[in-house]
């Protein structure tokens, strides 16, 4: 199982990084999304995941990590998910505005050939 | 006044039952809570709804649900055969079903029913709301299908949503 | 392990297969509605998985998740379809 989680993290991260390095805002946003999945899984993995032991206390079951999975990384991931969402929202809107104001969806706000012709004075 | 305080009694009832069902506990506290929600939730929902469903006679409704459950099961088997069989045997086509129902809630219910019963998926309601476009997975006689739908489902629905 | 447990496990595998089939359609397309349909189906299969998983562990903690998928899982479908139809989601 650890192997599966680790490879999943690896694939997500690699894909995310590849997209992050693209030149279009939308691709970058996709990349960030994939990367944050990878991150969330990584944090989650820090709790040494197990199957079928959600950290919701039940009567008569000893309150130890043998019976419940580590709740702390879960809480951290929750926070991370929410923050990632907030950041995605902002990025998306900036991308919209960039496209509207600068008429391109290149991450640098100008097509590379424009820049070569002479950018800022 | 009643409309402002209790916009829709069926909705209130639904919420009431829903809460108790979900809480799985009929303690006084939960009943109070359920009552409170049964009053508040429709009020809140009313801010978003233009019109609530007006119900006619409900007796036909239970019969309809029963019939529906049976139809779903039986017809699913048909679909299973059709899907698993060779595709070349399928004779799919679109059929426009003329509607007698005018109540939008009724039309909605009919659409759902048609979709849930196998062999048909409702695809579009014409803009004038007089026809419903249905896709049949396999039928040789569209007119028979139209007739069956109108008789089996539309008629009882017209009673519930007059 | 009871016979029911075995049945549940087998069931989970069957539903898993269904998910893989949906995945195939999702990746294959060819049209946007096809992919939307595949995603929608994935969501519905997920409910079955959750329920069976809950049965297997004899726990209720997955109820909320299943409920949410059943209740709101169609949001993606709604939004995507509306986009295909109109481009503008909120009109």
């Amino acid at each position: 199982m650890e192997f599966a989680i680790a490879t999943a993290i690896g694939v997500l991260a690699a894909s995310g990084i590849y997209l992050l390095l693209r030149a279009r805002t939308f691709d970058v946003i996709l990349g960030l999304t994939l990367l944050s999945y990878a991150t969330n899984l990584l944090i989650f993995a820090a709790g040494r995941p197990v199957v079928g032991k959600p950290p919701v206390l039940r009567d008569g079951v000893a309150q130890t990590l043998a019976n419940y999975s580590d709740p702390l990384p879960q809480a951290l991931v929750l926070t991370a998910i929410v923050i990632a969402f907030a950041m995605t929202a902002v990025t998306v809107v900036v991308a919209m505005r960039e496209h509207a104001d600068l008429h391109t969806d290149h991450v640098d706000g100008e097509e590379p050939d424009d820049a070569a012709r002479g950018g800022d004075r | 006044m009643k409309r402002r305080m209790l916009p829709s009694i069926p909705q209130s009832l639904t919420v009431f039952a829903f809460w108790l069902l979900m809480a799985q506990d009929v303690s006084p506290g939960n009943v109070v809570m359920a009552l409170l929600l049964a009053w508040l939730m429709p009020l809140l929902a009313a801010r978003l709804e233009r019109e609530f469903a007006r119900l006619g006679r409900l007796r036909g409704g239970f019969r309809l649900i029963g019939r529906l459950l049976v139809d779903i099961v039986i017809a699913n088997i048909t679909v299973a055969r059709q899907v698993l069989g060779p595709e070349s045997r399928l004779r799919s086509q679109f059929v426009w079903i003329p509607l007698d129902l005018t109540n939008i809630h009724g039309i909605s219910a009919l659409t759902s029913v048609i979709t849930l019963t196998p062999g048909t998926v409702s695809a579009e309601l014409s803009e004038d709301r007089k026809y419903l476009l249905v896709h049949c997975l396999s039928t040789d006689d569209p007119q028979a299908l139209v007739a069956e739908v109108k008789a089996r489902y539309e008629a009882p629905l017209r009673e519930i949503f007059p | 392990m009871t016979i029911i447990d075995i049945a549940i496990i087998v069931g989970m595998h069957v539903v898993g297969l269904a998910m893989l089939l949906s995945l195939w359609r999702l990746l294959r397309g060819p049209t946007a509605p096809d992919r939307i349909l595949a995603l929608d189906t994935l969501y519905i299969s997920a409910i079955a998985q959750l329920i069976m998983f809950g049965m297997l562990l004899d726990t209720e903690v997955y109820f909320e998740a299943a409920l949410i998928i059943a209740m709101l899982g169609f949001v993606g479908t709604v939004v995507l379809s509306k986009y295909v139809v109109r481009r503008d989601i909120v009109e």
Binding site: - | I72, V121, H135 | A7, A48, A70
Partner: protein, 125 residues
């Protein structure tokens, strides 16, 4: 647990899983969107419904108590599945080359081919 219940639960599970799988098969096997949509739109819905009933019975009998609220899942599913199907059909229709003409009207002459992968309105192409 009594055998009767075992049989009922297993039967429901079997039916449920079968139909769920059927939905998947329909999606892969059939050649056209409107044919494919039949599978998930109800086979899967029914399948999940069956599994849910199996679960209710199982929990009820198996000791952890009656959980009738799982019915709610079915209710929601039956409420939302048609919406999904309806909207997806609308989407597919809007991309069709030859939409079924409105029975009161003659078909438009200027309908053109559209990119189904990522649709754009005809007038832009």
């Amino acid at each position: 647990m009594s055998t009767v219940f075992e049989i009922v639960v297993i039967f429901l599970l079997a039916v449920g899983c079968f139909f769920t799988l059927l939905g998947g098969v329909a999606m892969v096997k059939l050649s056209d969107f409107f044919r494919r949509v039949h599978g998930p739109a109800k086979a899967s819905t029914l399948g999940v419904g069956c599994v849910l009933f199996a679960s209710i019975i199982y929990h009820w009998v198996n000791g952890s108590g009656v959980h009738p609220r799982e019915i709610l899942i079915t209710v929601f599913l039956f409420l939302t599945a048609p919406i999904s199907a309806h909207l997806m059909s609308r989407a597919a229709l809007s991309l069709m080359d030859d939409r079924p003409p409105h029975p009161d009207r003659t078909p438009d002459a200027d309908e053109k081919v559209v990119d189904r992968e990522d649709p754009a309105p005809p007038e832009r192409q």
